[in-house]
Assembly symmetry: C2
Homo-oligomer: 285 residues x 2
C-alpha cells in the first residue's frame, strides 16, 4: 500500500532478524511486524493512541493469574480465538479427520478440575432459578465406531448468576465443573444446569473494549466440553442451547450451527426435568 | 486476499460494533481486527502459537509497574514506537512546524524527576569508567528566534553499566536524570556522562522476542531529552553519539541522521574533558 513514510523501515526491522531465527518464527514475526506497521501507517496512529493500547495490554497482564486470563479474553472479544479455532478446524477437516465441530477453550478452563463418577451431579450449589438437566452420551472412535472406554470428558459451565466458580466467592470450589471417565460402553453421564446466557467479565480491558465498541458482553447459554484420550486428537468444543437469544451475536463469536443442541423434557427422574444426549467421535492421531 | 476460511467472519466481527462507537475508535478497531485476522489466516496460526502470544502479552503486563513499562518495550523491539514517532514527525513536518527531529520517549522516562540548577551535575554516582561531559545550549522560538526563558529541559541517561537508576539498586534515586529551567537567555547547562551503549532489559518478553529473533539487545549511546514550555509543542528526542558502533542497528530502531551529535574536547574545565552544545527550537501551538 502506498504511503508517505519511510518505505524501507518495515523491511529494515524484519531484516534485523538474525540467521538463527527458527523459520516458522521468522515467518510469524515478519507477518506480525508487517501488519502492525501497516495498521499504524494506514491509520496514522498517534502516540497517545498507541500508548492507550500499551496500557490496555499491560492492564490485561496485571489482571491475569491462575484463575483468569484477560489477555485471552481481549483476543476473544475481537474474534481471534474463534478465528484460530476455525483455522484449526478447517485444516483438520481438509485432512478428513474432524468429525465434531470445535469451539474455543475460553478463559475459564481450570486444568485442576477433579474427576467425578458417572451419574454424579456437578451442581454443588443449586441456584433457585436453575433448571436441572441430565446430560449423557457415548464417545466412539470416528473410524471404527467402536466405544472408547477410559475417555476423559471434562465439562464446565457458569451458574445462573453468570459467574463461573472461580469468579464467585459464594460458589464452592469446582462447582459446575467435572471430569468424567467413559465406561466400557464409552458412556458418560452427569447432572448439570440448563445453561443460561451470561456476560464475559467487563471490569478489565476486554470489557473496556466492548464498551468502547458499543457492544454487549453476553455469551449465549453454553456448556464447555474438552474430550481427551491417549492416542486421539483432543476435542475442545462448546454446545449452545437453541432457545438462546444471543446465538446470533455471541460476544466472543464462538457459535457454529453444528454446535447448537436441543434440551428435551425428561420423564420419571425426580432429579432433573430436562435431558440432553450428546455423542462424541474422536479421531486417532 | 483470497483464503479458504469463512469469508464473512471478519466483517461480522467489525459490524458488531454498535452505533455509539466513536468514529475514530471504529476506524482503529476495524483496522486492527482486519490486520489481526489477516495475520492469523495468512499464517494459519495454530492454537499453541496464538496462546504463546497471549502468555507473552500477559507476562509483559505482569512485569510492568510505575518503574517499568514492558508492554512499551515489546512494541519498541518490533519498531512500533519509532514508527509512531515517524508518523507524528512526518505530519508535523507537513504542517511546517517541526524544526527538530523527534525520537521515542522510551520506557525509562520518570515523570517525577526533580528540578536541578543550571550548571549542576546529574552524575550523582560517578562510575570509574565514566567520561564527564558538559552539555549546554539555548532554547529559542522557532519562528521569532527569540530566547525562550522558563523552558523545562528534562534529560535522562543510563550509567556505564547499562542501567538507568530505577533498574539499579546501586544508584542513588534520580541519578543521571534532571529537569533544568532555561534562564533569561534561553540557556540551559549541566554536567553528565558521555553516553555509552547498553542492552534493553532482556529478562522479560521483549528480551525473549529479541532472543528468538536472533537479535542483540543493544541501543547505541544516547541521551534522552524532553523539552516543554506552556504554549509550545512538547519535543521528545534523543541524541546519539556519532562514535557508537550500534548506530546502524539500534534494537529499538530510534536513530535518525539528524539526531547524531559530536562530543568535542573541552579545555580548562577540571570537571569535564568533553563538551556538547545542543540548541533546541520550539514551535508555538
Amino acid at each position: 500500500m502506498a504511503h508517505r513514510f519511510d518505505p524501507n523501515f518495515t523491511d529494515h526491522v524484519i531484516d534485523s532478524m538474525g540467521p538463527k531465527t527458527p523459520p516458522r518464527l521468522r515467518q510469524l514475526m515478519a507477518g506480525l511486524i508487517r501488519h502492525v506497521h501497516d495498521f499504524a501507517r494506514e491509520n496514522e496512529l498517534t502516540i497517545d493512541e498507541w500508548m492507550a493500547g500499551v496500557q490496555l495490554m499491560n492492564w490485561a497482564g496485571q489482571m491475569s493469574d491462575h484463575k483468569r486470563n484477560e489477555g485471552q479474553l481481549v483476543c476473544d472479544v475481537i474474534g481471534l480465538e474463534s478465528l484460530v479455532d476455525e483455522i484449526t478446524f478447517t485444516l483438520a477437516d481438509e485432512a478428513k479427520d474432524a468429525p465434531t465441530a470445535t469451539a474455543i477453550l475460553g478463559p475459564f478452563f481450570r486444568p485442576d478440575t477433579p474427576y467425578r463418577k458417572n451419574g454424579d451431579d456437578i451442581v454443588l450449589n443449586k441456584p433457585g432459578d436453575g433448571e436441572m438437566s441430565f446430560m449423557h452420551g457415548r464417545v466412539t472412535n470416528f473410524s471404527t465406531q467402536m466405544p472408547l472406554a477410559g475417555t476423559t470428558v471434562e465439562v464446565w459451565q457458569a451458574s445462573t448468576n453468570g459467574l463461573y466458580e472461580q469468579q464467585d466467592s459464594e460458589q464452592t470450589e469446582f462447582n459446575l465443573r467435572g471430569k468424567f471417565q467413559t465406561d466400557q460402553d464409552g458412556a458418560y453421564s452427569f447432572y448439570c444446569l440448563r445453561p443460561t446466557p451470561y456476560p464475559v467479565p467487563d471490569d478489565g480491558p476486554a470489557g473496556k473494549i466492548l464498551q468502547l465498541m458499543d457492544r454487549h458482553p453476553f455469551r449465549p447459554a453454553h456448556i464447555h466440553i474438552l474430550v481427551t484420550n491417549e492416542g486421539y486428537r483432543p476435542l475442545t468444543t462448546q454446545i449452545f442451547d437453541r432457545r438462546d437469544k444471543y446465538l446470533e451475536n455471541d460476544s466472543v463469536f464462538a457459535v457454529k450451527d453444528s454446535l447448537i443442541v436441543d434440551f428435551v423434557e425428561r420423564q420419571g427422574d425426580e432429579r432433573a426435568g430436562l435431558e440432553l444426549r450428546y455423542d462424541i467421535k474422536l479421531v486417532e492421531i
